[in-house]
Every structure is written in C-alpha cells, then in structure tokens.
Amino acid sequence: MLTIQQAQRLLRTGAISSEQLVLFCVTRAATISDAWERRIDTHTLLEQARQSDFRRAQNKLLSPLDGIPFSVKANLAVASLPLTAGSAILETNACVGYHAQVVDALLQSGAVLMGTTTMDEFGMGSLGINRPKSKTTTSRTKNPISGWHRHTKRFSDEEMIKMILHSPETINTRLQQDDESNVIFYSPGGSSSGSAVTVAQQAALFSLGSDTGGSVRLPAAWCAVAGLKPTYGCLSRDGLVAYASSLDTVGILAPTVSCLSVVWRELLQQQLRQPRQDSTLRPFQHNSIQTYSSASTRQKLLERVKVAVPTAFVIKEMSQPVRDNWKNAARRLEEMGATVDVIDTISPQVLQQALAAYYVLACAEATSNLGRYDGFRYGSTADCDRTNAVRDIDQPQSKFSLLEQQYAQTRTRGFGSEVIRRILCGTSVLSSDHYHTHYEAAAKLRAVLAQQMRDVLEQYDLLLVPTTFNMPPRIDEANSIDSTAMMANDIMTVPASLGGFPALSIPYGHWERAPFAMSMQLVAAQQDEQKLFRVAEALQDYAVD
C-alpha cells in the first residue's frame, strides 16, 4: 500500500508530482463510487495539486502533508459541500458554508481534499448499512476484501512510481486483480465505512472519521488499515455533526501507524494556531507531539513498556483463532522487550454492562442532538399538505397541532429506522420515569468503568485487546441481523470511548480460509497518544514481516 511516507519520498525526489499523485487517487476513487457521499470535481483537485507542486518548486511547502490527498467522513463540515451526516433529513444541495476545524487545519496544511465519504446515518451503526432510504441497496459501501494481502503488500518505490504514472486502466486492473469476480459483498464496518474504504483502496492516503463507540476502529479493522480514536477532547469537535457529544471524537484512518502519527502531529500543531471553538477541548500538552527515538535492536525496542492484558475482555463469544491471535500479539510484545501481564482488576460484570450503559448514554444524547432536525432551518422538509393537515386538526381525535404534524412527517420521512429506534430509546431513558433507573445508572457505571481502567493505566502503559472478534458479515445477510446483535460488535471498542481514553487499531494476523485481516487494539492513558504510536508501530512492523 502507498503510505504517506512513501508518497512524501517520491514527491521530494521529484519522481512524481502532486498532480500525478492526485490523478492516481482520482482514478482509484472512480472505482469505488459507493464509498463517496460527495466528491470534489477533478478540475478543482488538479488545480490544488498544481498549486502544491508550485509551492514545492519554490521550497515553500506548508507542511509535510502538502499535496497529499485525503478524504473526510460525511459528518464533518466542508464549506463547499452539503453537510449530510449520511442522512436523508439533511439531504440538500445547499453548502454548509464553513469548514470543520479539523478539515480547515488540513487544508491549511496544503493537503488535498478528495471529497466526503459514506457513513451509517449520523454515525449510528457498525456495518455501514444504515443508509438513507432513497439510496438503493446496490449502492452500499463494500468491503475491499483481501485486506490482509493488500495490507502486507508493499510496493518498492520504483514499482509505485510506475504504477502512479500508468494509465487509469492499468492502475485499476493491477490493483483490482484480487477482487475480481466477486459476487458476495461484505460489510466494510461502520460507521466510518467510506473513510476506511477510500484509504484501503488508495483513493486517499488518509481519512478523517469520527469515533463515538468504535466507528473508526471497527471499519479500520475490517478493511485492514490503521485507525486512531484520540483522547476525548483532543481534536476540536467544531464542525462535527453531533451524535453523542460526550463520546464523539474525530478519528484518523490511514494505511499505517506512522501515517497516523504524521497526521496527528499536523492536526495538533494547526489547532494551536486556531481560536478555540469547542468548550470541551483540553489544554494542549506538549509531549503529545514529541517524536520518539527508535531503539537499535528489536529486543530493546519496547524496553520498560508495561502492557496489560485484561481478562475481562475475554468473552464467551470470542472464537479460538481470535484468542490465539491475541496471545500471539502479547508474545510479540514480550519479544520486543515489553513486560506483559494478565490482569483481572477490570471487573467482567462492569465490562458486560458497559455496552448497555454505552447505548443508554449514546441514545440519550442522540435524542437531544437530533431534536434540531425539524426541516425548518435546513435539510429536507416534508411537504405537509396544508389542507389535509387543517382537516385533521378539525377532527376532535387529532390532538396534534399543525406544527407537530409537520415535525412528525418530516422526521418520519427523513430519519432511517435505526436512527428512529435510538431517538425513541433516548427519549425513554431521559423521561422522568426512567431517568434514575436508566440514564443515571448508566452514568454511574461509566464512571466506575473509567475509574477501573484509569487505575490499570496508572500501573501499565497500555491495554492490549482485540478490536473485534468478528469477521465482516455479508451485506445481504447483514440486513437480517437484528439491531441488538449488531450492537454487540462494539463491546471491544466501547470501554475506551466511555473512559475517553485514546485507542488505536491495527491489522494483526488474519482469518484462515477468509481474505480478511484480524486486528489488535491498544488503549493508553488520556493524552498519551505518543505511547500508542510507538508500541503500535513496533507491533505492526512485526506483523508485516
């Protein structure tokens, strides 16, 4: 896979120009039209790439990311595009008119925005299939498949140059050879489905997603790319369509861990220059953008790093291959000099209930955040037939006002079934009847879990757990999975979200007799992303060898 580092090298040596790189990505992007919500037109893209080439010629590059193509999830604001968050209720042709702070940061760095990517409606879903009703089933975002092979396949610089400079047909046939003649489609994971697919298919060198309960890590795992959910409050949420405000984070997807860390550093540095637009943003800590020196030998690479393997995450649904892969990863870390301990201080009961607590809290906040979509100020409005409505109101049994009828029609038409389910669920848990038994209980559980994890992370540097214990399901079967079972996908990723801890998912190992990668997840203490990058990079390099 083409990494940011390789692209930077090729650009620096002049082997390729940014224009050629963007053209390559445009060619790739055309093959995965189902992963894009809105694309920027090629003309604009090439113009931006030429400007970057010009800056490079003048030696006035804006940042290491200058001229690098990227994509963003459809719930992040891009001024020239409508902000849809993957929902029909926001389906409109009007531009949102402002950039999300993270998008603005990358544009200021000279990176080239390819477009916005598909997602589960408002980030609700784990399979990427909660899409607006208007979109047909055939336009579902598909898993690129052969993730593991793609991930491990590294082209030499010469091969890469040749490929980038090839004609579009050649590029696509060479990269698509593994996928041909596929009739069975698999889920790419959600909700940042399109972001993971665009990165895996090299239509973008990195992508911004959002992670509420695992929405970056799960698709990253299933599409065999690296995904980072940073500490809650480290990247500005300005311009991110809110799902569950106390859990939402902007995340990054990229081919490798080192790509993630380049983007991460750039985002933090740009954020320093921008005014604060998000009240929950944490004060900047300087050690989060320090670079680390690599040790000389592999045996000493992770010296003095302490890793905990919490037994509470071993749940009964987890199959033997996943457990073996997990053990394998722990062993590899030990081989690199890390101390690995199995710990049981995180209670299995608390962890089991964490998933329920997560859904209670997320739904409650979602109800609140989605209340604003009434069709009056933006997005689509149901054409409430005025005369019919008036007639309804004349009937004594209609207890709703004209306004309420209009709201009901707009929202019923605009929201998908999963979104409606979560809104109703959230309304219920916040009602005065259920507030104490549900919302407050969930908030308490969240606090207990966060405390237990914090205690562990005071003694250890990292937690090691799988990102998921499932293979991607087939899309045609995904519809029949009931929504509660679908929520179970998140049990491995939700704890880090509830505690606000940073977590990073990397492809590690692969399923036998299936073309999919398995994955491991590392969780660190708050604002300790640097340690995540260091250990994850070591583990990832080991895995690829």
Binding site: L90, A100, S279, T367, S368, G371, R372, Y378, Y435
Partner: protein, 595 residues
Amino acid sequence: MQLKNCLRARFNQRNARFFSNWKVDSWSGEVKLSKGGPVYQVIVGLEIHAQLNIRDKLFSPAISSGMYGQSSSIYPFDVAVPGKLPLLSAEAVQKAVLVAAALQCDIHTTSRFERKHYTYADLPLSYQITQQRWPLAENGLLECSYLSTPKNKLNDGQFARSTGKFDSKQSICCRIQRVQLEQDTGKTTSTTRSQICSNGSTESDLSAATIKTTYSLVDFSRAGCALVEIVTAPDLRSSLQAASVVHSLRHLLRFTGTCLGRMEDGNLRVDCNVNLQNEQQRRTPRIEIKNLNSIQQVRDAIEYEAVRQAENFENLVGGVEETRTWDVLKRKTTLIRTKDQAIDYRFLPEPDLPPLVLNGHVLGVPTIKQFVLRNSPELPALAEQRLRSTYQLSEYHAHVIARDPAAIRLFEEAMHFVNYSSLDTQPSLASKTTANLLCNDLFSLVKKAAERQAHAFILDDDDEVVSMSHAKINGSQLGEIATMILQERISSTMAKKLLALLFTDECADRNPSDLAHDQGFRLITDQEELRELCRAILRDHPEEIEVYKRGGKFIQKMNKLFTGKAMSLSNGNAHPERLQDALCDVLNDVAPGIK
C-alpha cells in the same frame, strides 16, 4: 352601531372584575365576598427572566438584541447549524454573579449547565441550555418597601389606612430561591390572512369560501441571548407586594448595570405562581401565569386569578395545577395547559460545556468576593452620604446623583478635573456648580433623548432609562465646562448651550473650550470694558436718554432697553449682573440724579 356594541362589550369585560361580588385587597391580599363570608389569602411566588445587558449572546459572539441602540445578529450556533458548539460568554457570567450578589445569594463556585428539552418552532436546538440541579446561586433575599404610585395613595392607600393594618413604610422581605443562567428563545409572531378558497366551494356554502390561514413567523435574533432567571420563594401575600418586588428588582438590575429592565421590550419578563389559602389552611391548586410584560399586568393578573380561584373554590370546582396566560385585551387569564399535559423536560447534563467554575479565568480576579467588591456599584444610601461629606453637596443633589451609578462616576470624574484645575474658589461652590450642570441641564438632555426613542414612552416605568450611562459627555468635558463657569469665562446660559452642542453627534468628542471659542462664547467681566460697551450704546441712542431723563417708570423701561442693546452688541457675551452695574455707573455719569 357595530362599533358601539364592540366598545360596550370591551367595557363590560374590562370591568367584569369590579362588578364581581368578590373583593381583593391589593395591600393585604385578602379575598372575600363583599357581603362577608370566608376570607382567602393570596400566595404568590415569582419567576423573573431578565435579559443581561451585554454585547454577546450567552453562547456565541453574536450581538445580543438587548443592547441600547444596537441591532442584533445571528451566529450559526444560535440557529443550531449542525456541528457548531456553544462557547460561554465570560461577560454573561460576570453580570449574573453581580445579580446574585445584589440579591445576597450564596454563589456556588461550581455550577453546571443542562439541556431542557421541548419542541417548538422558536427553540432552534430543541432544547434550552439552562441550569437546573446545579444553579449559579441560591438562598438570596430581597428587601424592599411598598411601591408608591399616585393610584395607591388615592384609592388603596386610604383603604389601607382605614383598616390600620398596613403601613406603606413597612418593608417586604422576599426570599430568593435561585439565580441561574440560561438562553433566551426566538420570538414567534402570528398573523392571520384570509384567503378565498376557489376549489369546490359553492356560493351557498359561505363558510367554506374563505379560509383563514394563520401564519407564524419566527424571529431568531433574540435566540441565544443571555438571561438570568430569578426564582422567589412563595413569600408574597398580595398583588401589591408582588408588584413592589418586581419594581424593586428592576431598579436593582438597572442599578447594577446588568439589565435594561424594559418590560415592554420583553427584556424583563415575569411569571407568577398564584394560589389561595383559606382559614383552615387549605390551598387551591397552584396556577402559573406566564410572560407578564408590565408591573400593572402583574397586579391585574394576580387579582383576577385570586377572584377566579376563590369563585372556583366556593363553587366546589376542584381544578388542577395549570399554566395560564394573561390576555391584555380581555383582561383575563386563559388556559395554556393543565398539569396532566405538562411537558417532561427530560433534563440532560449539557455534554458540550464543562462545569462552570468561577475562577480568575472567568471573573478576571481570583475570588468571587474580590470580584463582587470590585464590580458592585455603591448602594444609593451609602453613595449619597459619601457625596455629601466629600463634596459638601446639598441633600437634593446628592440624592439625584446617588440614584444612578453612571451619574456618580460622571460627577466624580468631573470633580477630579475641576480640582485639578486648582481654582481658588470655594470647594463647595465648585461642586455645587458641577452638580447643577449635571442634575438640571444634563439630566434634561438625557431625558429628551430617551423620549425621542419611540419605545421610551412607558406608563408604569417611572425611573426609565434616564441614566447618565446614555450621556454622550465624559467627566472631563463636564468638568471643563464647570471650570469655565467658575473662572467666569462663560455664563451658565452658555454652559447650557455647550452641553446641548456636545450632545449632538457632530460635536460629541470636542473639547469644550475649543467649542466655546468657535461659538464665540467669551464672557466679558471686565468693568471698564462693560462700561465702554454701555457708553457706545448711549452714544447711539440720544433720544432714549431723553426719555430716560423723564424719570419714574421710564427708568426701568429704558434700563431694560439699554441692557438688551448692550447684550446684543456683545454677542451675548457680557456678564449679565456686571453689565447692570456698569450701565448704572454710566447712566449716573450721563444723567445724574434721575429718579
């Protein structure tokens, strides 16, 4: 004919309360039948929403609509554009702390924001960001005296005196339960339009021929403005007590500079909770009356509601807790919703805002106490005393200036300038001259300016914005004018003209002595110069001197004439009294001994 009927109906509605058998005593809050019988006691609690007088909205840097003479603006967050987040205005917090301090509340170092959910077109987020379980401040107290209006003195006052139970000097004590920060909503206006319906209507079916459509328009410019909600305990026992508390609270808010208090503009709104208690301590269900926009409405609504509840109770109509509104035209309360239709507000801790901690970062000084000490205005009584002892002001001047913190500031700045000019006049004369300029000339200018603003005509608002904060003149300008008077460089008439000029936009920032120079204001006090002036007049009017010489009543007549001529010759610059003296001298020379 129709009009006449209409008017009659209106009159009857208007006076229905007075023809009722029930009597409400607005002093004691007792409700009883005029022919005697059971007596009920009115119990009132208030919820007051005051819009903070700050530049920004509570959570966005948009210009807030409450500002004097400024139009409002809208930021994306105010209309809930997806992805936009709230940013708390530190100024709003500071003003709210001042309100809480003025109401003697316990101010919490940490408070939290919550979302209060309900769905309406004027609420863009579908929730209001407010404080419920962790308010900014609690447990305050407001002490005030009875509101005195001419109406009270004539009608109710006599009644009160005759019963001997109530004394208008007696003070009212009202506990304040909480003071909290919250967002304002947009404003909904409804208009009705009749439309001829063309399809399917026959001429015989007249009622179907026209369809009345009610359009509602929402103005979001007010959405997101900062409000403080002040909730009192149910300590009030009459409509007059409630009115007095609102009146005094409004004065307090204006005095601390936190709210403009214009009820008719909606930047101070009152909700009343009213019920009755009979002699057996049984109470009627509590009724909330929403959005009262004047002190008179507060009184009327409470009295109407007291009679309505007493009648219901007497007729054994049970009733439940209700929310009602005051219909200004029909002069009655009408039902909005009953308790079983009450909204479940589904409070949720606001996840987009961290807890509000009152620290140096928000307040600008390390502690709440320091902040309050530094920023609270002096209490009027204390200020009055201080002005009298420091500047030897008369009681009247001290009283007028002390009522208005901006006036105190202006006066002291002016006095600083005057003292700095180190005149050899008596200090008391200097302060008297300055105070005169401020209390008479400047106050009347400000008042006139306020009256020119269309909305400044208010019926029940006696101390409406005649505040020196709207004077377009600064302390050194005022001081300089006073100094010029004291130095006899200008007359008090010229000073008045100068102030009026400085009040206009063109000359607002001018230096008064330059302005005086441009206007040709130069007081002539030199006796010889004045005499020369008089001689010149007399030379030009030999015939009038002859008339003067006739003596008697002609002396005064001619005196006046000569003075006028001399004054106009000097372009109004002659010192009036000294001109008189000079004229006498000169006339004595010309025609000695005329009587």
